[in-house]
């Protein structure tokens, strides 16, 4: 099916219309607008897929824009910019979005009439997310960036009556807003100095060297926005708490799409970033460190969703590492393998992580708890869920031929390949390998604790979820298994920065399987899985000697306390410093400023009292005389004020007559 590109305007508009419809009429529908959401999702997918395919197959970038408003010399646009990067995002967002809408109809069934709000907000989210990936300028990205943040806020707080959910929603909004602020600064820099925010215009700028600092600074600020949205260190603290929302929301927004917006933004801004390669080292470092930091925290958590959340942060770190390394290498050698690997991982991760979350949702649906310690043995009761989860776990752990293996391997290879240009990259490569080990470990810890072993849950018999939930799981298992294979059929020829290589499948396979690094990472993954098996299924325990045991205990506590970063940012910085300052200024307002005002008023009153004395002694004598006179006059007038309407009416008539006589006489005169 060939569609005109103009149809792409419908992609974000359809879910928006659905969201409005559900808000306005949803209370009349029994299922809260769920079927409208699914139908719209299907339509959106039917438009998005052909457009994305057409874009991937052609060499053109589709662009169309209108002036939104002008301000002085600035003209701000609203438009579409569909290139291969946008097409990739389009496929990911619309397909996963659709599957999650289907899943929601069953998962949210018990919510009753409140579902209306869920569907309205999730459709609004889809609209904003699609608007974001199709945007043709930074302002438009920023607007939709804030709107997806809004939807994330609303949906994390879906159960707003739970204090933890309300707190998590606000934490998410404020933490990402710190990043957004950087983004906005970057945007102002670009707009003021280059008079445009359009991608096409900005990326084709030929800059004199004295303006390079602007691009460098703006690039760094834009990356700041990505750090917030994609939950990278140090702004990662909101994502684990965001798991307070419904699991479908975690899957769609906090795993597959919105948190990828930061990665997308960095990829999109690559032409600006490569002009300041040292920025890209910052991107890579933040990415690598976050990947490692988050993976360690995933090791000890007992909440199935939070483990997945830390895993998401960690994998997003991988993507930034890939993009950073790719851009850095491109600036030096015009070779950007990391760029392709980062985006490849973005796609694969979107599928397998959505699957993991939806699987977790299926489990939670069955056992009504998030706690891994109260699960176990679910394999027998939930065959589809456990099997699809296993596919996803193998994928993220990096076992060939599952999809995660290909992208992770490409990514690590790219980091080491660029190592010669900056020794820092060797360190980051080492971290990436450590993360590969930890990922396999925590993911299989999760799987074994939930699905294998003996049941630790108490009361009822858990059961497999209904078809609207299991079918999306099975459908997602296909890309979780196979999306990595697109590498062999030309993924790198479509998504690249600089020049494509046009390698054949055989060449790629040869390239991968002749590198010792590949075997090292597979080995680490298997070791991680094996360790998880030994500890959580075989009950293997090592008794450490005393000082080491103490260290292990301390380390465990450090991880459980999330490196005390939440404490530092939320309790200390937001709670103590900011609120303390607020309290101080409030005191200043009520004591100092208002104190001065009230004192002045008192002084004036005192002065008035003195004058009053003076007045009564002297002036009043004169005034009283006058008053006496007036009173006499008043007495005589009072006789006319009778309170009878007829009397007043005659006065009015008399007045009118006098006026008429006056006018008549004046006319005659």
């Amino acid at each position: 099916m060939v569609l005109p590109f103009e149809a792409a305007w419908l992609i974000p508009l359809l879910p928006l219309a659905a969201s409005l419809c559900i808000t306005l009429f949803g209370q009349r529908w029994r299922e809260g607008g769920g079927w409208l959401a699914v139908a719209t999702g299907a339509l959106m997918l039917l438009i998005a897929l052909p457009i994305a395919t057409q874009t991937l197959l052609s060499q053109e970038t589709f662009r169309q824009s209108f002036t939104w408003f002008s301000a002085g010399e600035f003209r701000l646009q609203i438009g579409l910019y569909i290139d291969k990067l946008a097409a990739l995002m389009l496929i990911v967002v619309s397909s996963i979005g659709f599957l999650i809408l289907v899943y929601s109809t069953a998962y949210m069934h018990g919510e009753g009439p409140r579902r209306r709000r869920y569907y309205a907000e999730i459709m609004l989210f889809l609209s904003a997310m699609l608007g974001l990936v199709l945007a043709d300028n930074y302002l438009q990205v920023y607007i939709f960036w804030e709107l997806v943040g809004l939807c994330s806020f609303l949906l994390i707080g879906y159960w707003f009556e739970r204090p933890t959910a309300a707190a998590a929603a606000i934490k998410a909004f404020l933490t990402t807003r710190v990043g957004d602020l950087f983004f906005l600064i970057g945007l102002l820099l670009l707009l003021v100095h280059f008079k445009t925010l359009g991608f096409a215009e900005l990326f084709s700028l030929k800059l004199p060297p004295d303006q390079l600092w602007i691009v460098a600074l703006a690039g760094l600020c834009i990356f700041g926005g990505a750090v917030g949205k994609s939950a990278q260190f140090p702004l990662h603290i909101w994502l684990p708490d965001a798991m307070e929302g419904p699991t479908t929301v975690s899957a769609l927004i906090h795993a597959a799409t919105m948190v990828k917006a930061g990665v997308y933004l960095v990829a999109r801004s690559m032409p600006l970033l490569v002009q300041a390669p040292e920025n890209l080292l910052i991107v890579a470092t933040i990415g690598g460190c976050t990947a490692c930091l988050a993976a360690t925290m995933a090791l000890v958590n007992h909440d199935i969703k939070r483990v997945l959340a830390y895993s998401t942060i960690s994998q997003l770190g991988y993507m930034f590492l890939g993009l950073g390394v790719g851009g850095f290498a491109y600036a030096l050698t015009h070779e950007a393998a990391g760029y392709t690997a980062g985006l490849f991982h973005l796609m694969n991760h979107a599928f397998f992580k959505a699957l993991l979350f939806l699987g977790a949702g299926s489990v939670i649906h069955a056992v009504h708890t998030n706690d891994l310690r109260q699960m176990g043995g679910l394999r027998r009761f939930m065959p589809i869920t456990s099997l699809t989860m296993l596919v996803a776990a193998l994928s993220i752990a990096g076992v060939p031929p599952f999809s995660g293996f290909w992208s992770k391997d490409e990514l690590i290879a790219a980091v080491f390949a660029a190592g010669g240009h900056a020794p820092l990259l060797w360190v980051l490569g080492g971290l990436a390998l450590a993360v590969a080990f930890m990922t396999a470990f925590y993911m299989f810890r999760l799987w074994f604790l939930a699905f294998a072993g003996k049941p630790r849950h108490s009361s009822h018999k858990p059961h497999e979820s209904p078809a609207p939930m299991t079918v999306p799981l099975m459908l997602l298992a296909i890309p979780a298994l196979g999306s990595g294979l697109t590498l062999l059929v030309g993924f790198a020829d479509l998504i690249y920065y600089g020049e494509p290589h046009h390698l054949s499948a055989l060449q790629i396979i040869k390239h991968i399987f002749t590198s010792p690094l590949t075997y090292l990472s597979i080995g680490l993954a298997l070791a991680g899985m094996g360790l998880a098996y030994a500890i959580y299924l075989r009950g293997w325990r090592v008794s450490l000697p005393e000082p080491l045991a103490q260290i292990k205990k301390g380390l465990h506590r450090l991880l459980e306390e999330k490196y005390y970063l939440d404490l530092l940012f939320v309790d200390w910085f937001a709670g103590r410093v900011t609120l303390g300052l607020a309290w101080l200024l409030e005191r200043c307002d009520s004591l100092i400023i208002d104190g001065a005002v009230n004192a002045a008023a008192k002084l004036a009153a005192l002065y008035g009292a003195i004058l009053d004395l003076w007045d009564r002694a002297l002036v009043d004598g004169a005034v009283n005389g006058l008053a006496q006179l007036l009173r006499t006059m008043g007495q005589s007038l009072r006789r006319t004020v009778t309170g009878l309407v007829s009397d007043y009416a005659s006065w009015v008539v008399a007045g009118v007559v006098i006026l008429m006589i006056f006018y008549v006489m004046r006319g005659a005169w």
């Binding site: 600035f74 204090p163 404020l174 906005l184």
Partner: protein, 487 residues
């Protein structure tokens, strides 16, 4: 057309005086303000505001001996304020459906207040401007004093004294301007032509005197403390007009009177205005964080947001002033919405104390939706009107002042912080005993608020026409001020 609107309001007041049935009085108030709103929309849509010069101009001599005229007209700067005043008075009348005490006086005073505020925005004669400016005080004082909360006397007298003293100093400035010009005119256009005759030092002094009047009205730190008290005690409809349009009079005065008439004074005071604006933005936002009363919080947020208006004006460039006027319009839609919803919560629950609330969204879903929308709008969420205004002001601040923009920008986080923190404690969370017995928003409360939300989104999504209207007037203003184009 303008005089007709004022006469309609006057007629409405007279009729309200004659009517006996309280229901009819309420309908009369709504009808008069609705007619004026209709006329205001006709005025807006019936003319091309991008053209230079006054539109709907009317001029009659009033006190010829002193050169005082009744001269009124509108341009792209005053028109949005005019429409806003008409809209908010109408909505305030609808919102006051359940007023029980002294109904006649109440609605008559609101119509009088509307006459005075409209008068301030349409006056082209400085004397007339001052007369309307002072007339505004009386109904507002009475509204706070007669229908206010427990500390109404204190708040009303504080409001009156603060602004009255300030406007006396302003009067001194106006008289000095009149005498120094020597042309025996109060006509703003003619006075602006005299700006080169006026000695710069004198301009600075006159600017200072006028600024005292204007800055107290806005109000800005450190002369702002009348505002929270006035708002907390005022009835909701009073707060709506107070925050929605009364505060704008100060900013409007600076743009309309001080800038074109006293360019040397403006140049001298520019850094001080910027300082006061930025200080108010930050100070207001931080003080919001410490508030325990939702209404007081919204009041302080006004100070912060009016700081952004002052900052935009102080930049003195086209984009800065356009941003400031748009911000005035934005704040004129958003803060009334917030005052209405806080009033509705107070009405439904019986308290606005944050610590006594909780779970409002559960028990009162409409109220929860509206206050969340209002808070997000006020925090500058894109897609809503204030984002456009803030974006323009920040853009121009960076263009002209560089990284100083970081100070107001950082406050954006604090703004989101105080609103969301208040929402978390008052609106979300578990049901508090007070809220459990509450009832949701009434229809006569809901529709005015929904109207405002629709407008907030409309002007956030489609700002181009209004921005073009404002920009046209700002360009002519700046041409008048500097004699040439833009900096």
């Amino acid at each position: 057309m303008i005089s007709l609107s004022l006469l309609v309001l006057l007629g409405g007041m007279v009729l309200i005086g004659l009517l006996r049935d309280e229901r009819l009085v309420k309908y009369m108030g709504m009808l008069a303000s609705a007619i004026v709103l209709g006329l205001a929309l006709y005025i807006w849509l019936g003319s091309d505001w991008r053209l230079p010069g006054w539109q709907y101009l009317e001029a009659y001599p009033w006190i010829p001996a002193l050169g005082i005229q009744y001269k009124v007209g509108l341009d792209g700067i005053s028109m949005p304020m005019y429409v806003l005043t008409a809209l908010l008075t109408f909505l305030a009348c609808v919102f006051s459906w359940e007023i029980k005490a002294r109904v006649k006086e109440y609605f008559a005073l609101f119509l009088l207040l509307e006459i005075a505020i409209l008068g301030v925005f349409v006056a082209i004669d400085l004397f007339l401007f001052y007369v309307f400016w002072e007339v505004v005080l009386v109904p507002m004082y009475l509204i706070i004093n007669l229908w206010g909360g427990p500390r109404k006397e204190y708040a009303a007298i504080k409001f009156f004294l603060y602004t009255f003293l300030a406007s006396l100093i302003m009067l001194v400035g106006i008289i000095a301007l009149y005498l120094a010009g020597g042309a025996k005119t109060f006509d703003l256009t003619e006075l602006a032509a005299l700006k080169d005759v006026l000695n710069p030092t004198l301009q600075i002094w006159i600017f200072a005197a006028l600024f005292v009047g204007f800055v107290v009205k806005m109000p800005q730190v450190p002369v702002h403390t009348w505002l929270p008290d006035a708002h907390v005690e005022a009835p909701t409809a009073g707060s709506v007009l107070l925050a929605g349009v009364l505060l704008k009079m100060g900013a409007y005065g600076i743009i309309r009177v001080s800038m074109p008439l006293l360019p040397a004074g403006f140049e001298f005071f520019q850094p001080i205005l910027i300082f006061i604006g930025v200080l108010s933005i930050i100070y207001g936002a931080f003080v919001c964080l410490a508030q325990q009363d939702l209404k007081r919080l919204v009041a302080y947020s006004s100070i912060s947001h009016m700081g952004a208006v002052l900052l935009g004006i102080a930049l003195g460039s086209e984009l800065g002033i356009v941003g400031a006027v748009y911000m005035m319009f934005a704040h004129g839609l958003i803060s009334p919405l917030l005052f209405m919803i806080v009033g509705a919560i107070q009405h439904g629950v019986g308290t606005r104390e944050i610590r006594l609330l909780g779970g409002v969204a559960l028990k009162m879903p409409k109220a929860g939706f509206i206050i969340t929308a209002g808070a997000l709008a006020s925090a500058g969420l894109p897609g809503m009107v204030q984002f456009i205004a803030e974006f323009l002001i920040f853009l121009e601040t960076y263009r002209l002042l560089g990284l100083l923009v970081l100070l107001p920008l950082l406050t954006v986080i604090i703004t989101a912080g105080y609103y969301l923190w208040a929402l978390r404690r008052a609106i979300f969370g578990e049901l508090s005993p007070a809220v459990a017995a509450g009832k949701d928003v009434q229809a006569y409360e809901f529709w005015p608020m929904l109207t405002l939300i629709i407008l907030i989104v409309f002007f956030g999504v489609w700002p181009a026409p209004l921005l073009a209207d404002i920009a046209g007037a700002v360009q002519s203003l700046l041409t008048m001020t500097t004699g040439h184009g833009l900096p």
